[in-house]
Symmetry: C2
Subunit: 388 residues, 2 copies
């Protein structure tokens, strides 16, 4: 039996992971689960799986859980540091699915404890930078990515050695504005940006898919995770999201991973690596699909990708700022305060300054991230004032 | 330096392999080469690479080589058993590229000697059956296939474990008659069958690509090499021959190998495994290629595939007979003695009898193959007589 801890158990990744564990009750024990405040869901999960520990960011939720009479002797942690405490308990795999910078301390804690990490939190790598992976290596904590693209690259990497990789092919759908003119994109509304062609996801990542800022974050993660310079990462559009990413080897072989647009595949792989088990995802039928279509990204209409490459050249401070600026600008766009093309414009302005000052050691990433976001806010305010 | 022996050094695979070794003179030593009769080519190769041994099937060619004054102290073997003697010399890898059943004894000798085998000879597996791989395992001889499809499957296999494979996807171009009507295929001439859409190959394999008998032989090889029942091997047409084959895993991941239609890729991999080195083959550019199209095989217009599945159910005798009948019927077609659709008809008649009697142990495969071909000839003669 492999012991699993799930951080962010009530989010979409966490729920899919729990559904996966239900398929394989004979192979996995859900040892611990971290929640924000959803104590009723927690009570049901703890009862079902007989977890030994649960954490709540919200102390009142912890109190309600303790009082509900369904905790079954399970240890209860609470408060802002509870998820990190939970992540440090020794298990086989910690699934890190608390999103945003709130998830960083628990990612770091899992690594420090030498737990294998199934990583679904995008910001951890983008903000923590390569030092997070250096620390993981030092602690013997294997990091298996859970994003569908990075899981694909990880799987394709198994067919060769790191020094045999010529190029990584990071694929994307191109988002809802792939065929839109520059002018139409400029006028795009929050409602337009909320329609992803292939994946059903939360509002932030759906917007990030429209700007291609999400592909930019993935490009940064790819560069860090697979220790490869950005010039050797090519972004390719596969409109149907069937080809999830691929690795070009020096001998001319391209090893690709294909599958349904279904997160359960990557989640299952993250939990079962180095094995594979049924995930409930059907095999794809290429004959029925009929064709796969590919095209390059138009950097002029979608400048966020080029900005991510630029950010990478500035190191950890740069990629942290890229993420902060994108988050701040995206929120302003959703509120109607700025236009769609102001998002890359604001990221560009944020990256133009000295971003190195936001670089920090692992213990201060959350503070540095807060400062980067405050800086991005001030830049955005200036941007809006100048446009008025 | 890795020591290499090349059997069939003047054929297309052999020449490509030698060109590959020229790219990596610092990593490989061409230790021994087997020729049929081309002593002048042999002299040039031996001079260039300083080989320690050379063999000629033709004793007169061996004599001419000895007399030419360019042998540089290289050991010379000659006669029908010379290539097998050469294959048994201890090296890192023996590339088996002598085609047809003539290549069988040297394949077996390389395996018996425990040499790693880069296998380009199709008939060896189809005629020798699973026992050849059992023997290889006993002797510690790793078999790396050199056919582009099997090399692809081998590479995709690296991303998982054998028991995690749900299905193998064996791809093919569909051949020159893919879009032809049943009636047009019936009237196809040898000249029509000589035009392969993507690969430039010898006349036999080009005809076998038109009947899809080649895909049938590959299906048999796949079943034997990867120890998988035929019902879990799906044949898929990719008209552009970019997707070279793939492996479906139980978790829903499809790992595929793509590349240019260039044999140097598989040859290089066969010689470098478990590493990869530059092969002179360019990386493919999926954005430039634009699209990949897939379709199923029409079993009615192309019955050779279904016959290969049938042959597999009869074991080694069946697959040996499939190969023999196809070779005999193909030769008759090229001579104009039978029509195109008589090829599967003759294979079908040959498989209808008791094929188990052609099964043989490894030491008698060549004799059994000769008997199978004699039987196929008699069946074909009866077929022609009945049609007249």
């Amino acid at each position: 039996m492999k012991k699993i801890t799930i951080l962010g158990a009530s989010g979409s990744i966490g729920r899919s992971a729990i559904a996966f564990l239900r398929l394989h009750r004979d192979k996995f024990a859900l040892d611990a689960v971290a929640f924000g405040r959803g104590w009723e869901t927690a009570a049901a999960i703890v009862e079902e799986f007989g977890c030994s520990a649960v954490s709540f960011a919200d102390p009142q939720a912890a109190e309600a859980f303790r009082a509900c009479g369904r905790s079954g002797g399970c240890e209860v942690l609470s408060g802002p540091k509870a998820s990190a405490e939970l992540a440090a308990r020794p298990v086989d795999t910690v699934l890190a699915a608390i999103s945003g910078s709130a998830g960083f301390p628990s990612v770091l804690a899992a690594i420090e404890a030498g737990n294998r990490l199934a990583l679904a939190n995008k910001e951890a790598l983008v903000c923590g930078g390569p030092q997070l992976l250096v620390r993981a290596k030092e602690r013997g904590a294997v990091v298996v990515p859970i994003d569908s693209e990075h899981s694909a690259i990880f799987q394709c990497h198994l067919a060769g050695r790191p020094n045999e990789v010529a190029k990584i092919l990071l694929t994307g759908s191109g988002g809802p504005f792939r065929t839109w003119s520059k002018e139409a994109i400029r006028r795009a509304t929050p409602a337009d940006a909320a329609k992803h062609p292939n994946w059903s996801m939360g509002p932030k990542i759906t917007l990030d898919s429209a700007t291609l800022a999400n592909k930019g974050l993935e490009l940064i993660e790819t560069a860090y995770l697979f220790d490869i310079e950005e010039s050797r990462i090519e972004v390719l559009i596969n409109t149907s999201s069937i080809l999830h990413s691929a690795v070009h080897y020096v001998d001319g072989s391209l090893i690709a991973m294909l599958g349904a647009a279904d997160m359960r595949n990557a989640i299952g792989y993250g939990l079962t690596w180095p094995e594979r088990l049924a995930t409930g995802v059907d095999l794809i039928d290429l004959a029925r699909i009929g064709r796969l279509e590919f095209e390059r990204v138009d950097d002029e209409r979608f400048p966020c990708l080029g900005l991510a490459r630029h950010a990478l050249h500035s190191g950890q401070g740069g990629t942290m700022m890229y993420n902060a600026a994108n988050e701040v600008a995206g929120r302003l766009f959703m509120k109607g305060a700025i236009g769609f093309t102001d998002i890359p414009a604001i990221i560009d302005r944020c990256l133009a300054g000295d971003t190195a000052r936001f670089a920090s050691d692992l213990d201060h990433v959350v503070t540095a991230d807060r400062e980067a976001k405050a800086f991005a806010k001030s830049v955005a305010e200036r941007h809006i004032a100048e446009a008025a």
